[in-house]
């Protein structure tokens, strides 16, 4: 008999909202808006028993074999070991997204023993001052390299994340080399996607389409040179950048509403379509998972595409990029997200027939 529970490739669990860094590009939805006014997003977290019950319910009601723990900074959560033990017992593989600051050697060994399969760690530049500036945290660069060294030494796996901004794009090649030298399993080349605190730094950080093209060329050559996996998961609109010109890179588009969706559970049990949107589908403590992601509830998010994209042959694939960024920056899921909005005058006309 077919298992009726929804199948999830991954569930993102924001275990804590607190963070010990203040990255300029941070997209966490609970941060103040561009004018630094507080947002209405619920704050707080469940206690340990409540959190374990919440996670158990999520795993019971879905077919999910991978959970990504993020925050805030998940290492700030005192009961992280218990959360990991639960996931290990349920045979769920785990990724931790961390800034690396608290990943000292004993902690790394403990987390690996508890089954953490992958760490996603930022490497924003090969230059200390650039990484620290983007993290708004002195010492961030040395801390994350130390974390990478510990993970490598203890046979764990990590992937470096490079958030592409105007400030660090010139450093991309040397940063890839450094990530490779430290034993990173790959690089996530994520263009800056404004949201959260990042909205206040939009003009300072958002690269142009031309800058992204140059960066992708650099990354493509480096991927070939080092036989190194590089993926670009934040959507890059094909009308702005011809991604087929970079055969050694992989590109992704918004997966909301599919079984590849990044459904995001916050520390209070609120479920969202992805981690970039503040849209709350409902609370998992109050409703079944399948009801929360029912198509009628997801439709406003899934179907939203900017009018600009209507004539495009790739409308349904690209969906205009990141609709969550449009939502948090311009107040509407159907607005043109910042990367498209700021570069659309250079959009390629070849996609006009549908």
């Amino acid at each position: 008999m077919t298992d009726p529970r929804p199948r999830l490739q991954t569930l993102i669990f924001e275990v804590i909202q607190q963070c010990n860094h203040a990255c300029l590009h941070c997209y966490n939805v609970w941060h103040p808006d561009a004018k630094r006014r507080p947002v209405a997003y619920p704050h707080g977290e469940l206690n340990t028993a409540g959190t374990l019950a919440l996670l158990t319910k999520a795993l019971d009601e879905t077919r999910c074999r991978h959970v990504t723990l993020t925050g805030g900074e998940p290492l700030l959560r005192q009961d992280l070991p218990q959360i990991l033990d639960l996931l290990h017992e349920r045979d769920v593989t785990t990724t931790i997204i961390s800034n690396g600051r608290l990943l000292d050697e004993p902690t790394v060994v403990d987390l690996l023993d508890r089954g953490v399969g992958l760490f996603e760690l930022p490497l924003l530049s090969h230059r200390r001052e650039v990484h620290d500036r983007l993290s708004d945290s002195p010492g961030a660069f040395d801390a994350v390299l130390a974390a990478m060294a510990h993970i490598r030494y203890h046979r764990g796996q990590f992937v470096a994340v490079f958030v592409a901004t105007r400030l660090n794009l010139p450093d991309l090649y040397d940063t890839i080399k450094l990530a490779f030298a430290f034993g990173s399993r790959g690089l996530m080349l994520n263009r800056f996607n404004p949201g959260g605190r990042g909205r206040a730094h939009l003009a300072e950080l958002l690269p142009t389409a031309d800058q992204m093209r140059q960066a992708l060329a650099v990354a493509d050559a480096a991927a070939a040179e080092f036989n190194f996996s590089i993926s670009c998961s934040i959507p890059i609109q094909p009308c702005l950048v011809d991604t087929s010109a970079y055969p050694h890179l992989s590109f992704g588009f918004c997966a909301a509403g599919t079984d590849r969706a990044y459904y995001t559970l916050d520390a209070l049990g609120n479920l969202r379509p992805c981690n970039h949107t503040p849209t709350i589908l409902g609370n998992l403590l109050e409703e079944p998972f399948s009801d929360l992601i029912a198509s009628e509830r997801m439709a406003p998010f899934v179907e939203a595409v900017p009018r600009f994209c209507d004539p495009c042959a790739l409308r349904d694939t690209c969906q205009g990029g990141c609709k969550a960024a449009a939502q948090v920056c311009y107040g509407s899921l159907t607005a043109e997200e910042p990367f498209l909005h700021r570069n659309r005058v250079h959009a390629r006309p070849l996609l006009e027939s549908r």
Binding site: T93, D113, Y153, L178, A181, F182, S233, D259
Partner: protein
């Protein structure tokens, strides 16, 4: 750090999957017995890899199909009294892991899913060591030393694995408890080696 009980069967399965996908295990012809169907599932991991390339859903479907076929063949073996149920569960765990590995290594990457486990070869390690040497001047020497030690260890592992003592070393690690595994997992590994590697000899 030593391997955990769970890691043992995962390591065995990924090693076998890698051999299959590298074309190192011959098909041996049509065999509709439960053993033959079991073997066929493993030998189709390269097909799964091809299905997964560039198409997430197609790969997922193929993985589901293979995992179900594998379980069905195992159930027949258990029903016939040829394999203990607990051992069969371990064989299935091994196949689940192998299929996941084959799929994940080929399906398009996404931001929040574990990356393919791509173990770098000796040349990769030498290249890493060289790049690290060039980058080291501005970095914390203790951190650089730790990475250098890891690289040197991994190079030594590669060299040892290629040497005549490799098998004996693994057995020694198992006997001294460095590699932990339940009796069911060891039996499952034996079955898989027998099923897939013996016929290749």
């Amino acid at each position: 750090m030593t391997l955990t009980r769970r890691d043992f069967i995962r390591s065995v399965s990924i090693a076998i999957a890698s051999l299959v996908m590298a074309g190192c295990i011959s098909s041996g012809g049509q065999d509709d017995s439960p053993q033959g169907r079991l073997r066929s599932c493993w030998l189709r991991l390269d097909w799964l890899a091809r299905q997964a390339r560039g198409d997430y859903e197609r790969g997922e479907q193929a993985r589901d199909e293979l995992v179900a076929e594998h379980r069905a063949a195992l159930d027949d073996l258990v029903a016939a009294g040829e394999v203990d149920a607990a051992v069969a569960d371990q064989v299935q765990v091994a196949f689940d892991e192998a299929a996941f590995h084959a799929w994940r290594s080929n399906a398009p990457m996404t931001c929040y899913m574990a990356l393919p486990v791509e173990y770098g070869g000796r040349d990769d390690l030498l290249q890493q060591a060289e790049l690290l040497r060039k980058a080291a001047s501005g970095l914390d020497p203790a951190v650089v030393e730790e990475v250098q030690a890891a690289i040197a260890r991994d190079i030594a592992l590669f060299e040892a694995a290629a040497g005549p003592e490799a098998g004996a070393k693994l057995i020694e690690q198992f006997e001294t408890g460095e590699i932990k595994a339940s009796p069911e997992a060891v039996e499952a590994a034996r079955i898989l080696v027998d099923l897939l590697l013996r016929r290749t000899e």
